[in-house]
Symmetry: C2
Subunit: 130 residues, 2 copies
DNA sequence: ACCAGTATAGGTAAAAAACATATGTCAGTC
DNA sequence: GACTGACATATGTTTTTTACCTATACTGGT
């Protein structure tokens, strides 16, 4: 087993005695974020990386994982891509949302609404007992 | 690398073609939930397990991880525990929140408020483009 | 020629969550 | 009195998700 005395957690870090940095993050939030950005217009990976902070993913999107995720979304038929030769600079692979991807985004939106309710419920209960 | 064609994801599952089950969950949400329940009154592990669904953790809290988490919280001084001999039935270890644990809960509440904003922002942008 | 920014990609480690199993108490019942 | 199921705590292992690190190549400016 791994019952570590002081786990180096991603979501929690002890800054100084009694003072914590806590991050409450939604699991796999990059995925719906990519789908949302791609619904607005086709983009390539690097552009997506630059735009993700707009959605709250500040400085914490791993570029390697981003490209992997894009390719796995394509394998699942949620996005489609092609090399874009027209644009200047290094070769860019431009992704666009498929109809399936759009439906998945709708699911994510529903799920995120439920998550909001869950958090709201937690916070209400938290405020009650202050 | 692991670029799996059809990832067996926790947060996403294809039910039938084009139909997905999506779960948007907050990372490590069990932790603040335990702290909140323990702020209300001391409880033992099994009781906590029974009460977690009230906070939206339905049928998805692993009992093994729950006990591990409780012990690691104790190692960090966030909760304290002792065996409760009075109560009938199998031996129970009763946990209560420490002052440190209370402060961590406050941090979690702040973080969850920020998460709510992030989700709210996402959903606004989602609704705009419908 | 060199460097910084753009662009894509793979390898590996660590953290988080899920899945599986073990051990013992106790109350009711067949 | 053996058996069953709910209560209670705990460990071991695997899978999934995220973080960290490295490699490659094109392009524009100095």
């Amino acid at each position: 087993m791994t019952h570590r005395r002081h786990p180096r957690s991603r979501s929690r870090r002890l800054v100084r005695p009694g003072h914590w940095h806590v991050h409450a993050r939604v699991e796999r939030f990059v995925e719906p974020s990519l789908l949302l950005l791609l619904r607005e217009r086709p983009l390539h990976g690097y552009e997506l990386l630059e735009r993700l902070p707009e959605l709250g993913l500040e400085g914490r999107v791993d570029i390697g994982n981003l490209y992997r995720l894009l390719r796995s979304l394509e394998d699942e038929g949620l996005v489609s891509s092609e090399w874009n030769a027209e644009l200047p600079g290094p070769a860019k692979r431009t992704y666009e949302l498929t109809a399936q991807g759009r439906r998945l985004l709708d699911r994510w939106a529903e799920a995120l609404r439920r998550a909001q309710d869950t958090i709201g419920n937690f916070l209400d209960r938290y405020e009650e007992g202050r």
